[in-house]
């Protein structure tokens, strides 16, 4: 169609397109002309956007958990609430198995059901010479694959429940076990049973609560008579029950209805059932169990906030550099306005530049994200990828780009649009306009965030160090441990291993307990009794079963009495208390020798052990009762002679292989297990250091840009000062002074805020450092030092320049 034939509306659209093309072309030329500043802007924005993309990927994933199943909107989990006292209710995700029959027969709202039994014991798998353990496996009932979506790579779920010894593996597990994933129909050993691969499914999605590596039919689990007996009762809550409901149910009413129905089978007025939508499972921290680890809403928001902060820092660079450069654009904007450009047209022109910068930065950000994805996946222990077919990716990229454009594009464009052409003709430039306060404010805000992050990183590192070096009340050095499987023959096996290892020169000592001393999480209440205990006093205590060598191996000091003795029958009923327990029970003196009943065993207190930390240092030392119950003591600790750890491990392994040839020997040093307790803290620390580093880098980019610009602006001043006799040092100091003053101001703003937030974080730890004054000094010195290096280079360069040149060019 020819232009003459267009109507007014069409012509206007055409004109806008032409203007837009024109604007983009000019924006590109501007970016190329000011290469240094463009590079600073794009590098900063690219990094900031990459950080934001990672943050949004995480948040988007957290909030999309389990929604990908086709029937997700109608899928629910049945939960149990058990009121155990007026103040306390236990929340379980599990229900008794017979519930499923009630649901099917008596509840018309329920369309379909599916049961899962999460196996908390890792399974040992063997194929030829490959021996490995699964991280998570489960038995699933009929209907599981009707309710939940899996992507089958080979095989199918047809007839899964009928073939008792069939298994469905994830691609990852199949590849680890067989070296490839097309293995349907092949067999492998699971503990002592021969299993057949029925199907292989794609690895779990990052937003799936069901991250089992190995699924087996529930019918296989129930084929064991003792399992069946344990499951077919209303007294054991071992199964997670999922249902598909007809749309439009009142969940509260349905929960009450189910509670009433169950009451017919199990008389317990303290028990009630609730119905929870599938999409809410992920954030239910109360009901998280080993099977489903809950996400944290607050952590997700914190992640998003930090991503936005980094993006904000990058956008601040863009805004401050662009407005600083405004002077260079005085002529362009002035002339355009004189020959007829309206404010909106100027705005669009300048906005086009922000748009182009954002798009180029987005490309850079995508490259960074792609390159850093393996680290991100390692850090989050997820399997994220930039899949263009995934609409979520486009949401994330769109949101990041829009946020960047809004934060960085609007202000500079509005700022430049407001310039009057008359000012231009009178020889005034944008720089004469009062925007320096605004720019200084941006630098202060940027450095305040940076200094805050530096302070945070230092405090976290200090706390980490404090925890690592804290005297826990026992010696965990050079001790490794491994678990002898339950249950038949365990006592004999542990005894045999202890005897065999005790004679080896590379072994200093061997002991067995029911749990690792690094994290003894078993609590008990109800069975404790002693002379003088008030009737209404039901103390809750930590408990552990330990053998006679435990205190010597770990150098646990006694405050009173003695430790368990070998071959002392009476000690099987006796207990030791820690100092906190003695205080809690308020026992009569002398404490040692008092009668004490625990777990139905009548004995006495034979000793008091000094308080030691047996849990994360987030928690205070609680009262503890130590007993010696050999059938529970499957955790064997071996203390190695100095420098003989490999030999000691080899010795333990050969003892293991004699007894358990089909099970892999897995051991861990107490030091590693201890560090694992603080993995989330370690991750926080790593993340904080990374973010602080990124923030410092981005802020310095901005400061560098402003310094380059400022020295350019002051070339004439510098020239005149030098002609009049100023030294290089005084000129460099003059130029650096302004920036350093801003950085010091930001330190003053950031310090109290950082102190407040870090103190809050530390209050989560029962054992913590106090924030020292020198942390703020160190953060300040770091920030000022980095800023000085950034600005000083430019300042010295400007101070060294020949004044004749700068004055001539004026």
């Amino acid at each position: 169609m020819r232009v003459e034939h267009l109507n007014a509306a069409q012509f206007s659209i055409l004109n806008r397109i032409v203007m837009f093309q024109n604007n983009l072309k000019i924006a590109l030329r501007n970016l190329l002309r000011r290469r240094t500043f463009s590079a600073i802007n794009i590098a900063g924005l690219g990094l900031g956007m990459a950080a934001a993309i990672f943050a949004f990927l995480w948040v988007q994933n957290e909030f999309s958990f389990d929604r990908y199943h086709q029937h997700a909107a109608n899928l629910y989990r049945i939960n149990t609430d058990l009121k155990i006292s007026p103040d306390e209710t236990w929340h379980w995700a599990t229900t008794p198995m017979p519930l499923v029959d009630v649901l099917k027969e008596e509840v018309p709202e329920v369309l379909r059901t599916a049961l899962v039994f999460d196996n908390f014991q890792p399974a040992s798998l063997k194929k030829n010479a490959t021996l490995l353990r699964t991280k998570r496996n489960a038995y699933v009932g009929e209907g599981w694959f009707d309710l939940f979506d899996y992507q089958f790579l080979s095989g199918s779920a047809d007839g899964f429940s009928e073939n008792l010894r069939s298994a469905i593996l994830t691609r990852d597990l199949a590849e680890r076990l067989f070296g490839r994933y097309d293995v349907t129909g092949e067999t492998f050993r699971l503990d002592s049973a021969e299993m057949m691969v029925q199907a292989v499914v794609e690895n779990p999605r990052p937003n799936s609560s069901f991250n089992h590596e190995l699924l087996m039919p529930l019918s296989y689990y129930l084929s064991n008579p003792s399992n069946r007996e344990n499951s077919e009762t209303w007294d054991n809550f071992n199964f997670v029950t999922y249902v598909e409901l007809r749309p439009g149910n009142d969940l509260l009413a349905l929960g009450k209805k189910l509670t009433a129905l169950v009451g017919k089978h199990k008389e317990d007025e303290n028990m009630s059932l609730t119905v929870q939508p599938l999409a809410e499972l992920h954030f239910d921290e109360e009901r998280s169990y080993a099977g489903i680890l809950a996400g944290s809403r607050s952590a997700s928001w914190a992640f998003a906030f930090i991503g936005l902060i980094i993006l904000f820092l990058a956008c601040v660079n863009y805004v401050s550099i662009t407005t600083a450069q405004a002077g260079m654009r005085t002529k362009e904007v002035g002339v355009r306005k004189i020959i007829g450009a309206g404010g909106a047209q100027i705005f669009r022109l300048l906005f086009a530049e922000s748009l182009l910068t954002t798009l180029i930065s987005l490309v850079l950000a995508l490259c960074i994200v792609q390159a850093a994805m393996p680290f991100f996946n390692g850090f989050t222990e997820k399997n994220f990828q930039l899949d263009p077919a995934d609409p979520a990716i486009w949401w994330v990229l769109g949101a990041t780009s829009l946020a960047t454009l809004a934060l960085s594009g609007i202000y500079p464009a509005l700022f430049l649009t407001g310039f009057s052409p008359g000012n231009f003709l009178r020889g005034q430039s944008f720089l004469k306009m009062k925007n320096t306060a605004f720019r200084k404010g941006l630098v202060v805000a940027q450095f305040a965030v940076t200094v805050g992050l530096i302070i945070g990183a230092i405090v976290i590192l200090q706390q980490q160090d404090f925890i690592r070096k804290k005297d826990l009340g026992y010696d965990r050095s050079q001790v490794f441990e491994f678990t002898v499987p339950c249950c038949d023959g365990r006592v004999e096996a542990v005894r045999g291993i202890k005897q065999a290892l005790a004679n080896k020169p590379e072994v200093m000592g061997v002991s067995a307990s029911n749990m690792s001393i690094t994290n003894m999480q078993s609590t008990h209440s109800g069975s404790i009794d002693y002379d003088g205990k008030p009737d209404d006093f039901v103390p809750a205590v930590s408990q552990a079963s330990v053998d006679e060598d435990f205190s010597e191996l770990l150098k646990l000091p006694l405050a009173d009495g003695r430790w368990f003795r070998p071959n002392n029958e009476a000690d099987l009923n006796n207990v030791l208390l820690n100092e906190s327990a003695v205080r809690l029970f308020n026992l009569k003196e002398p404490v040692v020798g008092q009668k004490f009943s625990f777990q139905g065993r009548e004995g006495q207190v034979i000793g008091v052990v000094k308080d030691f930390n047996y849990q994360s240092l987030r928690r205070k030392i609680e009262p503890m009762v130590l007993s010696n119950y050999p059938p529970s003591n499957g955790n064997v600790m071996v203390k190695t002679a100095a420098g003989k750890a490999p030999e000691a491990i080899a010795a333990a392994q050969s003892e293991w292989e004699v007894r358990y040839p089909d099970l892999p020997f897995e051991y861990q040093f107490l030091d590693d297990r201890f560090d694992a307790l603080y993995r989330s803290e370690q991750k926080n620390a790593d993340l904080f250091q990374l973010l602080a580093g990124l923030a410092v880098f981005i802020s310095c980019l901005g400061l560098f840009g402003l310094a380059v610009f400022s020295t350019e602006q002051r070339r004439k001043e510098i020239g005149v000062r030098k002609v009049l006799g100023a030294s290089v040092t005084s000129v460099a100091a003059l130029l650096s002074k302004d920036f350093l003053r801003l950085v010091i101001l930001s330190l003053a703003i950031a310090s109290p805020l950082a102190y407040y937030f870090m103190n809050k974080w530390l209050s989560d730890f029962a054992y913590r450092i106090d924030i020292q004054w020198w942390v703020f000094v160190l953060a300040g010195v770091l920030a000022v030092g980095v800023a000085f290096l950034t600005v000083g280079f430019q300042s010295v360069k400007a101070a060294l320049a020949n004044p004749v040149k700068s004055l001539r060019s004026e």
């Binding site: 003459e4 000019i26 030329r29 020959i339 007829g340 450009a341 003709l425």
Partner: protein, 228 residues
């Protein structure tokens, strides 16, 4: 075409008040070529800016084609400006980021002239100014004379009724200056009204009337001899 009544312009800063135009009454008829002369700081350029609707007057009235424009908003002044006025400056004021072609084309983008018409007009003008061979160059690659010819082409491309020229030959050598003055005289001969600020008596005499200013006021108005 232009009539001012008691036109004044006062600039204020925090401490200083400067009267740049003091009760100026002038009248310019369509087709005239008027030169404004006077020492530095006498208010010539301020007069040009106010008449060019780039600045608004502080007091008095300004009629452009019998419409009072002194009190119009920036947006409306901009509208009148882009359809009626063309500007030529001493320092050319070409946009460095745009090519010769794009600089000349720019005013037509703001008046929404169709693309083929724009191309035709730009090429005709560049041809006429003998700089067609430089159309894809950027301003920095041109000589001063060439740059000013581009600026003149840009000023006339929308066929304005009035051209305002602020020392158009101030940055040029005499040969190039002559060239530019001839172009302006030719434009005037085809009916375009021209108001030019200059320091040069020689250039001023290209016009048919000379207004002399001192300290913000008009002191004399002479008709150029050859028109007497």
């Amino acid at each position: 075409m232009i009539k001012t009544v008691q036109l004044s312009k006062i600039y204020r800063t925090d401490e200083v008040e400067t009267t740049a135009l003091n009760s100026v009454d002038i009248e310019i008829k369509q087709g005239e070529f008027v030169s404004v002369m006077g020492p530095s700081g006498c208010g010539k350029s301020t007069l040009l800016n106010v008449l060019g609707m780039i600045d608004s007057p502080s007091n008095g009235e300004y009629f452009f084609n019998e419409l009072e424009v002194g009190g119009l908003s920036e947006r409306k002044r901009s509208d009148v400006r882009k359809h009626n006025l063309g500007f030529v400056f001493q320092s050319f004021n070409l946009i460095d980021e745009l090519t010769v072609f794009e600089n000349v084309e720019l005013p037509m983008l703001y008046t929404k002239v169709p693309a083929n018409e724009r191309k035709k007009r730009v090429e005709e003008l560049l041809e006429g100014m003998s700089i067609m061979h430089r159309k894809n160059h950027f301003p920095q690659q041109l000589s001063g004379g060439q740059q000013q010819r581009v600026a003149v082409a840009r000023a006339v491309v929308n066929k304005p009724k009035l051209i305002l020229a602020d020392e158009p030959t101030g940055n040029l050598d005499s040969a190039n200056g002559d060239e530019v003055m001839k172009i302006l005289a030719d434009l005037n001969s085809t009916g375009t009204t021209i108001l030019m600020v200059t320091h040069s008596q020689y250039c001023a005499e290209f016009g048919n009337r000379i207004i002399r200013m001192l300290d913000g006021t008009v002191v004399t108005e002479n008709v150029v001899k050859r028109y007497l």
